[in-house]
């Protein structure tokens, strides 16, 4: 770090730390930015990129460290303040109002006035056109945002940033929704902004484009600062190595289950612009990991298989029997369970009790003429609370009051109640503490021992490598590779997940 030449940096962040309850999200991070530079921030999911970004944008308050703008120390306490200081963030989800025009969006809340009460539309359009011209956008400023493509909306966001006379523009995964040619246009705009001495912080999962557009690259890992390198002195392999090079902790239980017959076979599953030609087999007692970056299409494939969002084409066989595609009632009947990524929105009825949640899949089997056999209901709830070590005062407890780990166990319990043959787990350890994670790993092992075929989606590479017997890697909707556990390394997987070759 060349801390002494401070004056040439427009932004310096030093020793920035941030702790959330139970998690050290950022630990002494360094980041600086020169005038007219593109500086990329890379790291795995959860490395701390978005936390850092939100601190810079004034959305989070840092716990420690200093931020200097143009050499003067600043304290950012709210988003508006960051904006006033010339820092503009373009998030993945745009902040545009679809049924208003481009011009109205650019000058939202600060449109030029006439007689202090009325918006001066001629002036509004004229000034907006100026900013649009700056970035080479040919649309009229009167066009409604709803009529624009994603790429064009992004350009409106950039024009909006310029209208705030932003000196620093942060772009959070700006290319994730763009086509190749739209991406080229974006890069052209970024280069022009550079020439106008605007500094850009660029965040992306795709290493090639990071190398293409950046001057420098800073790598974060698990909330720690790894290194800052010049883009021209490095290569994709080195970056990936820096991203994943963590030491492995010994908290993955050993697995002894043997693989049996095929329980699930997926043939040519395709859904336009989500995934294509997905083929794989899952065996009894096997843990099949799906690795990939967020947005690679893993979750979508699983939702297609389970019957939540219909694929366009392809076939699914459970134990050799063809399954009607897009009917989750059917797949559940054939003993498939699905633990969704967002357990609060899709996995649990938060306002109901532990007992009700566990038994929801089981009710068709524990009633006579529609009357619930309440003893069975209680017995099943007690059984799974004990077996999965669900920590709750009693089974009448409302699920909302339990911790994330215990909630996740309830979602798993409700599927175990149907004696599943196949269990799909979409990021089951997301947002739960280390102890509960370890318990869920042991549980997965035990279930495999009971001959359940398990599909595990996870964004944490060490988790996938240590828990799965076999790993499929997905990138941009396609399966790009397959490893047995003994052959899998984080570098190999990351290369297939992030690199286009």
């Amino acid at each position: 770090m060349k801390k002494k030449t401070a004056d040439k940096y427009i932004l310096e962040m030093e020793n920035v730390s941030k702790t959330f309850p139970g998690v050290k999200a950022l630990n002494n991070i360094y980041f600086n930015l020169k005038k007219g530079e593109v500086h990329s921030l890379v790291g795995e999911n959860g490395a701390g990129k978005s936390t850092l970004l939100k601190i810079l944008a004034g959305a989070y308050k840092k716990d420690a460290g200093t931020i200097k703008l143009d050499g003067t120390k600043v304290e950012m306490t709210e988003p508006k303040q960051a904006l006033d200081m010339g820092i503009s963030v373009i998030y993945q989800e745009f902040n545009l109002i679809p049924n208003l025009s481009i011009a109205e969006n650019i000058f939202m809340g600060r449109a030029p006035r006439k007689n202090s009460a009325f918006i001066d539309f001629p002036k509004l359009y004229k000034e907006s056109e100026l900013f649009l011209k700056k970035i080479g956008m040919k649309k009229s400023a009167k066009t409604l945002v709803s009529e624009l493509s994603v790429a064009e909306q992004q350009m409106v966001e950039i024009a909006k940033s310029l209208s705030f006379s932003a000196k620093i523009i942060v772009m959070d995964e700006p290319t994730s929704a763009l086509t190749e040619s739209e991406k080229e246009t974006l890069f052209k705009i970024i280069r022009e902004l550079k020439e106008k001495k605007v500094s850009i912080i660029f965040i992306s999962h795709i290493i090639e484009e990071v190398l293409e557009i950046s001057d420098r690259i800073t790598v974060l890992r698990d909330g720690n600062y790894v290194d800052t390198v010049n883009a021209k002195d490095t290569n994709p392999r080195k970056i990936v190595q820096m991203m994943v090079g963590r030491e492995l902790k010994d908290f993955y239980p050993k697995k002894e289950a043997k693989r049996g017959k095929i329980v699930l076979e997926v043939k040519n599953l395709t859904k336009k612009s989500k995934y294509e030609n997905i083929n794989f087999q899952l065996h009894e007692g096997e843990v099949l990991g799906f690795a990939g970056l967020v947005g690679a299409g893993r979750a979508e494939v699983m939702r297609g298989i389970f019957g939540i969002e219909a694929p366009d084409s392809g076939e699914i066989y459970i134990k050799g029997n063809k399954v009607k595609v897009n009917s989750l009632f059917e797949t559940i009947k054939m003993k498939m369970g699905f633990v969704p990524e967002d357990r609060r929105a899709e996995g649990l009825i938060l306002s109901r009790s532990v007992k009700d949640n566990i038994n929801i899949t089981k009710l068709p089997h524990i009633n006579s003429h529609g009357l619930v056999k309440q003893k069975d209901e209680q017995r099943i709830a007690n059984e799974y609370c004990k077996r999965l070590k669900i920590r709750t005062p009693d089974s009448k407890q409302i699920v909302q009051n339990l911790s994330g780990g215990n909630q996740q166990k309830i979602v798993i319990a409700k599927w175990l109640a149907i004696n599943p043959k196949i269990l799909i787990l979409d990021d089951p350890t997301r947002g739960i503490d280390v102890g509960a994670k370890n318990e869920i790993y042991s549980l997965i092992n035990n279930l495999a021992k009971e001959k359940i075929g398990i599909i595990l989606i996870s964004s944490e590479l060490p988790e996938i490598i240590n828990i799965s017997d076999r790993i499929l890697v997905m990138r941009e909707g396609k399966i790009t590779g397959e490893f047995l556990r003994k052959d899998a390394t984080q570098e190999k997987i990351m290369r297939l997940a992030a690199l286009r070759n």
């Binding site: 929105a345 649990l348 009825i349 938060l350 306002s351 929801i360 009710l363 068709p364 009633n367 009357l371």
Partner: protein, 316 residues
């Protein structure tokens, strides 16, 4: 369920309010506690209360049914018509089926076209009321056989028949919600529709079911009113939807779905009925009665929400 749970329950809170109201009224007016008055109040309440059982189920699924009053009106007319044509029992049976069918149509449209229940049942409210007017050309249908009147005016062991019907419906409704799998599904889909569906529950069927039940019970209330007034009038039940929703909401059922019970709705209906009666006995003008009723609805719901917050604080 131990005693502490009972004290904490929403129903208990409303019940205390109800008792307080009764106590005040019995001091303020000598006639309130007379057997005759109580029996009159109960009879009046029974129509709203019966519909509230269905409405509770609908609101538990986070829906709403604005068509109950109009369905009541249409079935009221049809009952008079059918009884005159087909005889007593077949007439009542067909009219009941019509009520259920109207509710079923509500449910099917809500589910199949994925439309907001508010809009669909608002439409049904106009359709049913309009049909009732079309069928009768705006005039009441009379000439119903004498014996039909005993349905509403008769007594069994000294209790008015409508009150007995109401009690039966409440027992059935309570058992349905608390003991059957469909009851479990109703609470679940109101609590989190998506998670319930993803657990393999056919949420659409559950929704159709609750609207059908509500249609059926509105029809039942319509038939009872036809019996009481010895005629089928196309304007019967106008505005009842608001009383029914009021009763359910005062009873502590959450408009967002998933929380509530028929027991609460019964007390809610009783509060509204007793208040109505008490104000008449006190000689309060009919115009002011409306104002007071409105205030009570808001205060009851606000009180319930404050109680909930208070208890939540205590637990955390």
């Amino acid at each position: 369920m131990d005693f502490k749970d009972v004290l904490k329950s929403t129903e208990f809170g409303i019940f205390v309010a109800f008792l307080a109201l009764c106590a005040i009224l019995s001091f303020a007016t000598p006639n309130f506690l007379s057997i005759y008055n109580i029996s009159t109040v109960m009879k009046q309440v029974s129509f709203i209360a019966i519909m509230s059982v269905g409405m509770t189920m609908v609101i538990l699924t986070a829906g709403i049914d604005l068509s109950v009053g109009a369905v009541l009106g249409l079935v009221n007319v049809l009952a008079a018509l059918f009884i005159n044509k087909f005889g007593l029992a077949p007439g009542i049976g067909t009219a009941l089926l019509c009520g259920a069918f109207l509710g079923f149509v509500n449910g099917i449209i809500i589910v199949k076209w994925d439309l907001p229940p508010f809009i669909v049942t608002l439409g049904m409210m106009n359709i049913a009321r309009g049909l009732a007017l079309v069928i009768t050309k705006g005039w009441p249908i009379t000439g119903i056989p004498e014996c039909f009147g005993c349905l509403a005016e008769g007594r069994l062991i000294g209790i008015p028949v409508p009150v007995i019907i109401m009690i039966i419906i409440y027992i059935l409704g309570y058992l349905f919600l608390s003991r059957t799998i469909w009851g479990r599904y109703i609470y679940a889909s109101g609590g989190n529709e998506k998670a319930t569906w993803l657990s393999g529950v056919n949420v659409n069927k559950i929704k159709i079911l609750v609207y059908t039940i509500t249609g059926f019970l509105s029809g039942l209330a319509g038939i009872m009113l036809a019996s009481r007034l010895s005629q089928g009038s196309p304007i019967t039940g106008t505005g009842y939807e608001l009383s029914v929703i009021g009763a359910v909401v005062i009873g502590g059922t959450d408009l967002m779905g998933g929380k509530g019970s028929v027991l609460g709705s019964l007390i809610g209906a009783l509060i509204m009925g007793v208040l109505d009666n008490g104000l008449v006995l006190l000689g309060v003008s009919a115009f002011w009665q409306q104002v007071i009723l409105g205030v009570v609805i808001i205060v009851a719901v606000a009180g319930g929400s404050m109680r909930r917050k208070l208890f939540m604080k205590g637990e955390k």
